[in-house]
Point group: C2
Chain length 340, copies 2
């Protein structure tokens, strides 16, 4: 039964490919309606045709069609603070309930006060302490359930919506467009791999095995009832930002991407690595220049400076020099959110 | 064009599935001709029907169909010594040519003598030294090219054939059978991830991103010409054996397998983890009990003891107790190698 099904499917797929390739491209509906006409949109369509049309000299076999997207600031809102950090802060009360002695210990004491300004002033070391305390010490199934519950209930203070609605509609269209022509879409994020995997399939259509992120170690243990569990340990395996992104791609995929999309200095190396692969490749960056509809920060292009998702002038210059496409949120995106 | 193609393909796939499900199963040719009729073969076929027939109460969605295979001793020959270790020994002369001072340093001096008995007596520490020296210190592309060249030229001394022909034909059929019904087949090996990825797609039909193995860190650097490269560092990221296998699966897939196949004590935890997932799962172990056609080692079942791919009586007992299927190479496999 199975062999026949496979052969039959291969036959039908072949027929489908032939038929659809024969169809006139201009008669199709626009797969990227939230992208305004312009050089960014043109670059995407040109890249897709160059790498997926069988007659193209730059044709790329399906197995090699890998597209990677950063998450924070590239697929969803990262300002004023990374969503995962909000999760960590929100977990502190439950943590202190379980370990009351933490209530008087910094930085947990400050987080418990709810004083937003004091919390915003916390440095890197205290933040790492909070992250380690709230993201480790439980098994991976418990963690998944906690994140799933939180992500369903939490609301962004500006839009009063779930964080999973603060995803960029043009990027959702782009993910679908790339998948429709045989690209496997990966998220390659500085955020926590286990965190993003909880909702990535539902929200972005990206399955867990295609989410690469900052990853801590787990240890194989037996629960009291003898059931094997994987405990999340406070041990960093992969810091998936900056050089860690291409390093993580080698570890998890073992192939160089054809397409990479970022939005900040943490995406520089993955864009370099992608672009250096030879043949037709596409490297893109979102520039957040739309304070009305989302946020505006750089400091490239005279935008305000920021600590979250920094896009410095050097990155802008490198993009121009190397032919990476800088996408203006304001000019290139007709619509930012599906709920607009 | 692409949207239409996708919709059309979905339509055709739906039609294909319906048609093939309607076909009578017993009229099909046997997908596992190298497996003799018996309880092991029955367990595989029963597992496939239970998890892939839409009408089955134990039906598993395609996205969750994950099957994992150990490599050494499960997919190909591991005796008298792991193939990757032969590669490391074979690389020593080139290494010493590049760094002549190593010729007088142990354990390189011993390897250079070619004295098989002395080499066989090397302990774990010297072997780790040889592995680190021959598997790291170059960029990932150089390493891939070196392994590809070696694997094409090297010959196993017993069969006088390339190591990639010493793969078990029943397992190749099983991999194909599982893929034909929507399972993604992963290799989860204690061997080096970068090493196995070089030939896994050609030999097993398993693409790089579905090879999980012992992995060292890489570091993102710039070559003299400014090109970014990933250098292989002597830093262990994942020791993908024993408890490291389920830990590696969590890191790289993020889903629990439905099916796991091993052959030694290093596969115990992945089998436990797989079997503990609920619903229908299948855990299998190859028992090497065929000295004539391959090798015989245990020491389970009164077979000779070994240091390579040890299958102790405790593992045999656990398998019997937990319903894991022990596959007798001698009795369950009609043919071991394709060249027989």
């Amino acid at each position: 039964m199975e062999l026949r099904r496979r052969e039959f499917t291969a036959l039908l797929l072949g027929a489908a490919a032939t038929l659809s390739l024969a169809g006139p491209a201009d008669a199709e509906s626009d797969p990227l309606p939230s992208w305004r006409p312009g050089s960014a949109k043109d670059a995407i369509v040109k890249f897709v045709h160059a790498t997926t049309d069988a007659a193209s000299p730059d044709f790329v076999p399906v197995a090699e069609r890998i597209a990677t997207f950063d998450q924070d600031g590239t697929l969803w809102v990262e300002h004023p603070v990374y969503t995962q950090l909000v999760y960590c802060f929100d977990r502190v009360p439950a943590l202190v309930k379980a370990k009351p002695e933490l209530a008087k210990v910094e930085p947990f004491r400050t987080v418990l006060t709810g004083d937003r300004e004091a919390i915003a002033r916390l440095g890197l070391e205290p933040l790492i302490k909070i992250a380690a305390a709230t993201l480790t010490g439980m098994d991976v199934d418990m963690f998944r359930d906690e994140v799933a519950k939180w992500i369903a209930e939490a609301r962004d203070p500006r839009w009063k919506r779930p964080y999973t609605e603060l995803i960029y509609q043009p990027q959702i269209e782009l993910l679908k467009y790339l998948r429709s022509v045989g690209y496997r879409t990966y998220i390659v994020t500085g955020g926590g791999q286990d965190f993003v995997r909880v909702y990535a399939e539902r929200v972005y259509g990206v399955p867990p095995e295609q989410v690469i992120g900052t990853a801590g170690g787990v240890s194989y243990q037996y629960a009291a009832d003898g059931r094997p569990v994987l405990m999340k340990e406070p041990k960093l395996l992969l810091n998936d930002d900056n050089a860690g992104k291409p390093e993580g791609i080698h570890l998890m995929i073992g192939r160089r991407p054809r397409f990479a999309f970022g939005n900040s200095t943490g995406g520089r190396q993955i864009l370099e690595y992608t672009a250096a692969g030879g043949g037709v490749r596409l490297a893109m960056l979102v520039l957040h220049d739309d304070a009305d509809r989302e946020y505006a920060y750089g400091p490239a292009h005279g935008l305000p400076d920021t600590k979250v998702g920094r896009f410095p002038p050097e990155l802008y210059d490198q993009a121009k020099k190397d032919g990476w496409i800088v996408v203006s949120m304001k000019d290139d995106w007709r619509r930012i959110f599906a709920f607009e």
